[in-house]
Symmetry: C2
Subunit: 717 residues, 2 copies
């Protein structure tokens, strides 16, 4: 029928190339995230085909093991154009054994299963193929994703000797989703949870989400906003949560919920929520019992209390441990945990906001139940482009502290700005707290190893919503991905992660990957430069946090004012956190307290976080502080421009649809970086009274123009 | 290479059947709407292949003509597995000529081009193929979609002699989208318009939307909520609208905007919005000029004024014509129109709500400018499951009246209830107003033919949002589709439309289509039965309108109370609109006034709309009114149960994903129909004091249970 190969190929293309798939690459909208499995070139495929002809797995499989098989089938069929067979016996060569629990390992595997723990896995090349082994089915699923990643990124699949054990127990996405489907600080459409149609209708998207989470080792999701709604704990909503739990369970993802501290009053009809009140305690116990009837593996509660207007134990003269422990006691019989947020600061407390959480929590060290984690943001203010690590890390050696990162880009440009947060997370995790001398990294605190903590975790305020591309933009998927990879391995290299992600999500061409990864790694510093350089912080517009507002100085709460942070006047700028100021530096261990306390040794990228300095202060570059500030702002914009040029030079490597969206978003980012730069310089110049350095373009408009800019409908608020 | 056909087919399948496409049919999520073009069986394809081998079109094509070519390529390649060629000359056989404007028709075409008007088209079989001809490129695009529809529904494409001229000029979707991306009465996710990223980023979804609109002849979209926000008319938002207009323009879709009547004050800084004030008039004139600078083919304004708290001319002692004409004068130099809504009623007016719009507008007949249409809802209350046609139709012979239908199912079960509205629209359009004797259908009023009206239109409050399936559910797509088909041809048969839609959207198997169409045609009556039978109306819960609330009698506005409408007491039920009551019947022409005024001649499906009757009133069935009411409620639920059984018997005809969603939604619908039925019977029984007919199941709970049901987060509100 086909005399020559090209006629055949044309026919294949004519059939395969359905109109919506035509073009250099099939149209992609980002829905498939990093789990795309596009067909490899024939040459590349050869070694992988040889390695994975057959999946060897017992005939009777749990749902989770079946998912592992299906994922491998999907990935192998997609990438190799040849679906593997599935059998309970190995044949000669190309076997991919999936070994779970105490099933027999193939000969020569020699894996120390005990060391893998409940979720870890090993991938080992043996005679005749590869073993993926774990003590649990979910471990095998994780291993299957890892194996596929090797293929997706064109790594070798021979000579493998991989052992992966997660750094922490709880690797969780926090949704800030409201019950009305709006998402606080969400830039990806509506909430992913369609409450109105739950529990009767399970949108396939839920399972796709669970699969994406499992692919990066996330094992928990808390469903609703930490500015909690007690309705979330009513029977109707618990049934909806139970339906979701059913979808997530086979993927190893537990459901958690936010617990509104005043729920006993709001939905329980009690007249108090005092954690020491027996009726209140009984109410929570009954509520926990009710939840576990519906969701036997419910993870536990996430709580924001006595923060930004949320109710809490302090309303009754109790402390955070009292509140957390009450909930912990209710959950303990069921194996649940409490994640109690340390994001606290009060407008009635004149103390430096950066000091308040430490002051409230450190005295409570060791007073929390075993099943409580205190959840601490990466820095002591609030997810700013750069903050020093939170001084609580290392300061509570008897208390499980979990990290809270932000994945959604509330202060980092929303969905449109390309900012790779893996670099930021890594900076935080690798910071040395000196809690027990040098090498006491934040990672070692969080993974419990430094201070012998049993219960460990990492949370990320997620960015997945109803948008087709999940995260609001294609590059924002990388932040979700990187969060998962780092939560699994706190010591992972964020650049390697970026490369994995770029290869899996876009393409394996080195000519593409190299500049893209470089762009990603530079992007975090770019946003620091055009928003809050040199350790400045919290200079955004009020409410929605969209665009600059460094002039704002009149809000009800003083520590919501940008001016509170920059304290700029005609003499200088910056927040004195040394002994001559708020002395926040003293909350850090030696030698950090000294390093931060001394303007000579403070890293310049945190200079104005810790010091108030005159505009003429001489920077390492030889420039004055004023000139340096202006240069940083200006360079930030130039960096974005470079990113645009880099990306625009990469047309043709990937599908047009995603390429075009990224082009458009980089244009928006450049415009907005320019806006940040211009408005900030206009304002700070009005305060400093200094001229701009030679050759630097002035803002095109006057300060009043920037002050008048208003965006009442910016998303997420 | 391929010795036998089956090995070849297996290989094709292996390649084509990418894992996410495997299964009986490729997974479908509804995104492709009715424009799916799945490959036909080879036997079926033969006649179509012969008919359309080559698209014959001039080499130089406008963007719109190119879209027509591309759509045909897409459809033909998809359905026939063989892309047509495109040439400027015909060859022997299988030619599909696209003839626009005064381009030459092929021999023997004999088409009266003048009669087609600006948007009409002809499709005629000639020697050597088929001609699609129109005076404009958009007409050709419409014709191309029609031709493809013939194929999609397996009609003959030989011996064609089709002439299609739209019934009305303005065929428009009204979005009730807010600038914060919430959608009033929207059940399909967030607003489709991502304002934050406009104008720089044009989501491909906008073009997909324009294409869907063009496929059913919709030629206008008004972007934002009639509860208008003046910000929509500010430069930033006009630029965003202009960007959208650019996407829509080649598809023949004009952009319109809502005009907040107080905009001159809110964004213009004036201290009045009096339509007779020269400054106000000048402001609107300048605003119009500004708009047309950005959008040269801007359609015009849609206005809700002096209704439900919206500002308007009556705030200044002026009337609707004063207000509409001011805007009309501002737009007239640019060719724009005003669509002024007649949805008015005041809580300070004790008159029957159903009479108020007529009372305000009919005296203004002939007083509106030529470029104003008065936009009238289908009935005199508000989009209820059944209403008599609005008495304004036929009562304003000197004024363009356009129809306003609701596509989104605000009072009809939101996204989950299967209710085919084509049947409802047809009932309204075919209603005889007797304005000029028998045969004076609503359709003839709306298309201008009865009363010689130049400017005509139909509006639909749309249901397209950010949901993947656009409309919130698969069957809700049918309502959007039917609206478009009926807007194009007011006399079309809604059952034929349902069949077209089912074939295009799902499958052509008669064994599937027949029961599905029957189910669709019965669905409207089912919802009337389980919500508001026998002419009852407006009995829904407060605010969100989700679920029943017939007991509600305490709202601030009397005519928002369900009790206002049913007036049930221990004696009887219903609203007396005859001469002994509000005499709303007198707003209808003879003989309707008499027909509705006499309980003997009133159709039973409008009985309680026009009459207050004793519970013992004997219905045509022989049952008492009370018994009949209970039976209707009960039968409504049974009808939904039947729909479920019908659908559940059709597994395998279509893809599993859409099949499953519809199964789940029908389950929800049956639960909610039961809820409506039970709550309504519980309430009306508490009022009537009558026993239930024999054998009828009582509500499982008492009235207080139903009254206590609360859904604060029901969508759309």
């Amino acid at each position: 029928m086909f005399d020559n190969l090209s006629a055949f190929r044309i026919l294949i293309l004519a059939i395969v190339c359905l109109p919506f798939m035509c073009g250099a690459s099939r149209a992609e909208d980002g829905y498939d995230l990093w789990l795309r499995y596009p067909a490899m070139e024939r040459g590349e495929a050869r070694q992988y085909k040889a390695a994975a002809k057959r999946i060897v797995v017992p005939a009777a499989q749990s749902e989770t093991l079946e998912l592992a098989v299906r994922e491998l089938e999907r990935g192998l069929a997609g990438m190799l154009d040849a679906a593997p067979s599935v059998a309970s016996d190995a044949k000669r060569g190309g076997n991919l054994w999936l070994v779970s629990g105490d099933a027999a390992l193939p000969q020569g595997a020699g894996i120390d299963m005990a060391a893998l723990g409940p979720e870890g896995y090993a991938i080992r090349s043996v005679d005749g193929g590869t073993v993926i082994a774990a003590n649990s089915d979910i471990g095998v699923l994780y291993g299957a994703f890892h194996f596929l990643r090797l293929m997706q990124t064109r790594e070798n699949v021979t000579g493998l000797d991989i052992t992966e054990i997660p750094s922490v127990d709880v690797r969780i996405i926090n949704h800030w989703d409201n019950l009305d489907r709006t998402v606080e600080r969400g830039y990806s459409g509506a909430s992913i949870w369609d409450w109105h149609k739950l529990p009767d209708y399970l949108d396939p998207r839920y399972e796709d989400y669970a699969r994406a989470l499992a692919s990066i080792g996330i094992n928990g999701v808390s469903l609703t906003n930490v500015n909690a709604d007690a309705m979330a704990l009513t029977p109707a909503y618990l049934e909806k949560a139970a339906a979701l739990a059913g979808v997530f369970r086979p993927y190893g993802v537990k459901i958690y919920q936010t617990a509104r501290f005043s729920a006993p009053m709001e939905i329980g009809g009690l007249d108090t929520a005092d954690p020491l009140d027996p009726e209140v305690r009984a109410w929570w116990k009954a509520k926990a019992d009710e939840i576990y009837e519906l969701i036997p593996d419910f993870g536990g509660f996430l709580v924001k209390a006595n923060s930004e207007g949320q109710p809490g134990p302090q309303d009754y003269g109790r402390n955070h441990a009292d509140g957390a422990n009450m909930l912990a006691d209710a959950l303990a019989p069921h194996g649940g945990i409490v994640m109690w947020r340390a994001f606290v600061y009060s407008e009635h407390n004149p103390e430096d906001r950066a000091k308040q959480a430490y002051a409230q929590f450190v005295p409570l060290d060791g007073k929390f139940r075993d099943n409580v984690l205190v959840q601490v943001k990466n820095g002591p203010i609030d997810f700013q482009p750069r903050e020093p690590f939170h001084p609580m890390f290392g300061a509570m050696p008897k208390t499980p502290l979990m990290m809270e990162f932000q994945i959604t880009k509330e202060y980092l440009g929303f969905a449109t700005h390309l900012v790779y947060l893996g670099a930021y997370y890594e900076e935080v995790l690798s910071a040395d707290t000196y809690a027990q001398g040098e090498g006491s990294t934040v990672a070692k605190i969080v993974d419990g190893s430094l201070q012998d903590i049993e219960l460990t975790g990492v949370a990320g305020v997620g960015n997945a919503g109803s948008d087709r591309n999940w995260s609001g933009s294609h590059f924002d998927q990388a932040n979700w991905y990187a969060f998962g990879r780092l939560a699994w391995d706190l010591d992972a290299d964020s650049k390697d992660i970026a490369e994995d992600w770029a290869r899996m999500t876009f393409a394996n061409d080195d000519a593409f990957v190299r500049p893209v990864v470089a762009m990603m790694m530079e992007s975090r510093e770019a946003v620091v430069d055009y928003m809050t350089p040199l350790g400045l912080t919290h200079l955004m517009a009020t409410g929605h946090h969209y665009g600059p507002g460094p002039w704002v100085c009149d809000l009800a709460r003083p520590e919501w004012n940008p001016c509170y942070y920059h304290k700029a006047d005609e003499e200088g700028i910056g927040f004195d956190r040394t002994a001559s100021g708020s002395n926040a530096v003293a909350q850090y261990e030696a030698p950090l307290a000294e390093i931060y306390g001394d303007v000579e040794t403070t890293p310049e990228n945190l200079l104005l976080w810790f010091h108030h300095l005159p505009w003429d202060y001489e920077m390492k570059s030889g420039r004055t502080l004023w000139d340096e500030l202006v240069m940083r702002y200006t360079e930030g914009v130039a960096e974005v421009h470079e990113m645009r040029e880099t990306w625009e030079g990469l047309e043709g490597y990937i599908d047009q649809e995603r390429y075009d969206q990224i082009v458009a978003f980089l244009k928006i980012q450049e415009k907005e970086a320019q806006w940040w730069r211009d408005a900030s310089i206009a304002y700070f110049q009005s305060v400093s009274g200094r001229p701009l350095p030679d050759g630097v373009a002035p803002p095109p408009h006057d300060l009043d123009y920037y002050k008048a800019i208003s965006h009442p409908y910016a998303p997420g608020h």
